[in-house]
Symmetry: C2
Subunit: 114 residues, 2 copies
DNA sequence: ACACTGTATGCGTATATACGCATATGCTTG
DNA sequence: CAAGCATATGCGTATATACGCATACAGTGT
């Protein structure tokens, strides 16, 4: 474990990597793809159907996700199967969803003030 | 707890909100600001100094973070103090950093193959 | 009221990137 | 090797947004 524990100084490079990871997750279409893959490995054509996107666009987003190390690629004949490669995605999404739900609840309360 | 547990169908609106949350975290300067605030509440001028950014730019990024509900604002005389308002940021960053470290380690291994 | 300090904002520019369209590449089968 | 299907890529355009500069706004002290 190199310099892991020490979260003190964040180098510009490390900061850029973290920012990049978040940027990859900042597109609805890519979130849709990840969500579809939560259920398990799927070929591109299935993802195109599920997400209702164009084949070209889906392919590009899948590349982006794979480049980021979030997805794994497996070729089988004509098809290419993608699957979640980075399990940290699950708790990550749960955290964000939970935070947003709480935010929403608080806003609702602010109006419901009796 | 409303419809929390059921992560099944993600509406376009929910997806957009999650994407937005990630987008807010996808700028190095904003991550720098969050990181600086991990130690506790700070006024804008302190953050300008720490991050070495221009006052205008820092102010704008702080607004973005506050708008997203991640930061809280507190005015005291001339100064405005910002602080972390959403504690989910901490585990979120830890998750991403941990994932990236693991990725880095794996890449290193791929080369060090004996 | 004036000057001064800390913070926010309007505007222009540069850069990134999502998407659509057409086309290329790769693999399989006749 | 020709045809056909699944996937990837080149290119142009539209949109978003980060940044710098100047300036506005707000609160404090003289």
């Amino acid at each position: 474990m190199a310099k892991a524990k020490n979260a003190r100084l964040m180098t510009d490079e490390a900061l850029a990597l973290v920012a990049r990871r978040f940027a990859v997750l900042s597109e609805p279409m890519r979130l849709r793809l990840l969500h579809a893959l939560f259920a398990g490995e799927k070929p591109v054509n299935a993802l195109v159907e599920i997400t209702q996107g164009t084949q070209a666009n889906v392919s590009r987003h899948l590349q982006t996700l794979a480049d980021a190390g979030l997805l794994a690629r497996r070729k089988e004949g004509l098809q290419v199967f993608y699957s979640i490669a980075d399990p940290s995605i699950f708790p990550l999404c749960e955290l964000v969803c939970g935070s947003l739900e709480k935010q929403h609840a608080q806003r609702a309360d602010a109006f419901a003030r009796r």
